[in-house]
Amino acid sequence: MGKTLLDIKNLHAEIEDEGKAILKGLNLKVNAGEVHAIMGPNGAGKSTLASVVAGKDGYEVTEGAIEMEGKDLLDLDPDERAKEGLFLAFQYPVEIPGVSNINFLRTSLNEIKEYRKEEPISAKDFMALVREKSALVELDAKLASRSVNEGFSGGEKKRNEIFQMAMLEPKVAILDETDSGLDIDALRIVAAGVNKLKNENNAVILITHYQRLLDYIVPDFVHVLADGKIVKTGDKSLALELEEKGYDWLTDVKTL
């Protein structure tokens, strides 16, 4: 078993202005080399989990901790969390007109390198890296020079997210509904990209509503998130069971 990368302990979180609790005591430990899938019905708190871990404004953590290799993330700004090695592939990647992907990523990469006290990457090496990594997700190199996500199709946006993941080489990547809105070919490409990127030293958390993605990225663990907690954990066969039976049997059990 690899060392623990991400450790979420008894996490309680609510929407800041409404005081509405979304996460209610969630525990999740992710070790190096592992792939976790988090599934669950709509409104269970899956995307909230991703946002809270990444440090998005508008949520308040009322109890619990999120640690990355033993370091508390909760006091860190979103960019510091990213520098610690956390990556979030967004469900809805935002468009940033006028900012080229290339400039954006180079700035991002060099900030992270600086944080790690590494030398900045030269323009030449950077471009070589772009070529290498964009091939990984079959992203047209032309897209790399366009503005961030502007005018991208849904599939291109998702591939761009994985391309960025490849560029930044995070320790823990959370893929938030990366499969939504993808046709089967795009899904295959995205999955192949993720598979190539995972190794013994990093970990992947897949947040998904459907079992489909898990045919391509095989999880070590499948967790069911319902009403702000993980209510069941199993191996990949749990996903198939969920596909068949839905979530009701689990949430019903819980209320018994």
Partner: protein, 480 residues
Amino acid sequence: MSGYTEEELKEELKDQEYKFGFTTDIESEKIPAGLSEEVVRMISAKKNEPEWLLEYRLNALRVWMEMTEPEWAHVKYEKPDFQNISYFSAPKKQYESWEDVDPEMKATMDKLGISLDEQKKLTGVAVDFVMDSVSVATSFKEKLSELGIIFSSFSEAVQNHPELVRKYLGTVVPTQDNFYAALNSAVFSDGSFCYIPKGVKCPMELSTYFRINESGTGQFERTLVVADEGSYVSYLEGCTAPMRDENQLHAAVVELIALDNAEIKYSTVQNWFPGDKDGKGGIFNFVTKRGMCHTNSKISWTQVETGSAVTWKYPSCILKGDNSIGEFYSVAVTNNYQQADTGTKMIHLGKNTKSTVISKGISAGQSQNSYRGLIQIAKKAENARNFTQCDSLLMTDRCGAHTFPYIECANNSAKLEHEATTSKIGEDQIFYCQQRGLSEEKAIGLIVNGYVKEVLNKLPMEFAVEAQKLLAISLENSVG
């Protein structure tokens, strides 16, 4: 833009206050404050001007006396006391050539980051340097004169090419045009003059740097650029002023004339002292800029405005000739207590005339930033086209962003499109950048740069880099 490195920017950002806030200790000659016929005669006499120019000034003074300061702009300020301004301030020594220029003044230019020596060697930019109204030295004159290009201070042009000055002066901005233009016409002390002969493409960027140095002075420069038939020129203008806690007045007039088939590109990076963070001091920038386009000609205004306490400025094009083109690209940033009312006028008179207006406003602090633009299609302007896009970005909940477009169309073959948006800087965009490891400050810088890129791309390279840095400095700690 990938024109700057992190290190460069960081270096710049260390110096968060106004960067050009130093005064140059040069002995200067200043006319006592006040405005009267006597003062105008004195200015004219000091410059050894011909009779017709003195008459022009005196007439302007009479016109100005009858006028009242305009009130319609969306700005509030204490009106300057026009009798308490000195209308002429010049360094005492006059220089024969660039080599003779006072070392201290050269040092000033170095601090301004426009070191002439360096620019001569590296960039091939010819610079006319106007400090407190008087043109100090013009480099590259010889090289230009081989092509028949005249690029000199306005006063020199009056002495050496009076026929050209007399022919074009006041033809685009008539004396009675507005209050500040009339004032300028009476008391302008120097400025730049540029003439590009028929068919000549000026091989280098021509550049003027304006600086207000002496306290209690106003700067009233006059710029006249004439591009004769089939010629081309790209003209750059930069402005700075030292920090002073009283308000200083800058009322310039710029006239451009593009004759048939000529093209003029006029770029400005304006960084006059905006006042301190409490709104004290700063330059009142009341400028009239206008270009006349003859047949098949093109005038393109590009401006990056980060300075001045109050700005009142509408670089405009009169599209008189058929098939002429007018363009206006603007970035206006206001922070703290700055106020800007700026935009353009595109007057379509000829057939098949086209205009494009791209305006990007950024408001921060407690500032007020207004776009005011007129698109006018005259009855005989067949097939005129205009596209206007003006966007406003709000950085805090205490600033204001306003859009006042005037669209007047009297010809049914015209096609006009105007779009405007006003919104807050995207929190989701900032978060996305932060998630990728950028600090909030850097994320904002990046987003702002993306937002204004369309305009910065229109600037010559060196200017674009400077403009980008200025934006970063102006918006330091600006998010509310």
